[in-house]
């Protein structure tokens, strides 16, 4: 490492550090099942949001979906967050 790099390191990450951080995110995502969705998943999520919005005002992240696998069984886990004042 040259003496100039000492100054540079304080300012920004090396490209290898950026690579590592980005990889840690995608690998963690795959390992928790995130990368393994069926192709229809994003569309289903959009459709569910549209249905929901007929009744309540919700944000884009209101519908969280995961697929859980246990042996041969696949379970679609839906988590819908309603706004505080949804009951009115």
């Amino acid at each position: 490492m040259g003496w100039l790099d000492v100054f540079r390191n304080n300012e920004k990450k090396t490209s290898a550090q950026m690579a590592k951080e980005r990889l840690q995110v995608v690998v963690a995502h795959r390992r928790t099942g995130g990368g393994d969705h069926p192709a229809y998943f994003p569309q289903l999520q959009q459709d569910l949001l549209a249905v929901l919005r007929k009744y309540v005002q919700v944000g884009d992240d209101a519908v969280q979906m995961e697929i859980e696998r246990e042996g041969d069984l696949e379970v679609l886990e839906l988590n819908i967050t309603l706004p505080e004042d949804a009951r009115h």
Binding site: N9, T14, S15, A19, L23
Partner: protein, 268 residues
Amino acid sequence: MAKIIVVTSGKGGVGKTTTAASFAAGLAMRGHKTVVIDFDVGLRNLDLIMGCERRVVFDFINVISGEANLKQALIRDKRHENLYILAASQTRDKDALNQEGVERTLNKLAEDFDYIICDSPAGIETGAIMAMYYADEALVVTNPEVSSVRDSDRVLGMLSSKTKRAKEGGEPVKEHLVVTRYAPNRVGKGEMLSLDDINDILGIPLLGVIPESEKVLNASNSGMPVAMEENADAGQAYLDLVARFLGENRPMRFTEAKKKFLDRLMGR
């Protein structure tokens, strides 16, 4: 009992065939009867790397379809009597590689050999799955580069879900990380992922590091697995890897940047 070892990666061109050839050669040089099989149907290349392309008459697909028996298709290496090659076919029909045929062939080879090395094609399709399906252990070949590391992670996912061991719920396939084309001087400059980085991300035991080396191209030009080449850094690294695989303790080499002449002179 023969051990079946797949050399796999997901991403193409990272050094699977180079690794399969040198790993098989190294095992044979240590006295183990070893066969290396090219699973890359339609893109046969292992024969060239092993230097036996002119001796291929029958191939793996011919054996599976019954057009030839194993004895006719196995090519014995001229340099090491323990080393054999089973070439891939040049046919474009990928379906020729059917599961029953692969199993039958591997079972037959297992009667005769100590190690069966399967050189996987790139990708995550049938050919790659077929190459890993019966594996006991896997060498996951990875370059210090984002797309290669990510693909290796996907392959680890396949090893734990798509293999016979995974389906039958037995002992999982034993995974080994092999980092190839490693350039210590670039790692030192922060331009390339380090061994520790890759270890942190993938979390499987490191079996060996192969340096980026011009000797690899030279060796492939002459049809010689680089492990057979004396005085080649990459070849030495492969022989170390084989020794570790056989249970010996060998420190990693070729992982530090070469010091500049002036630095060495001044003892820095």
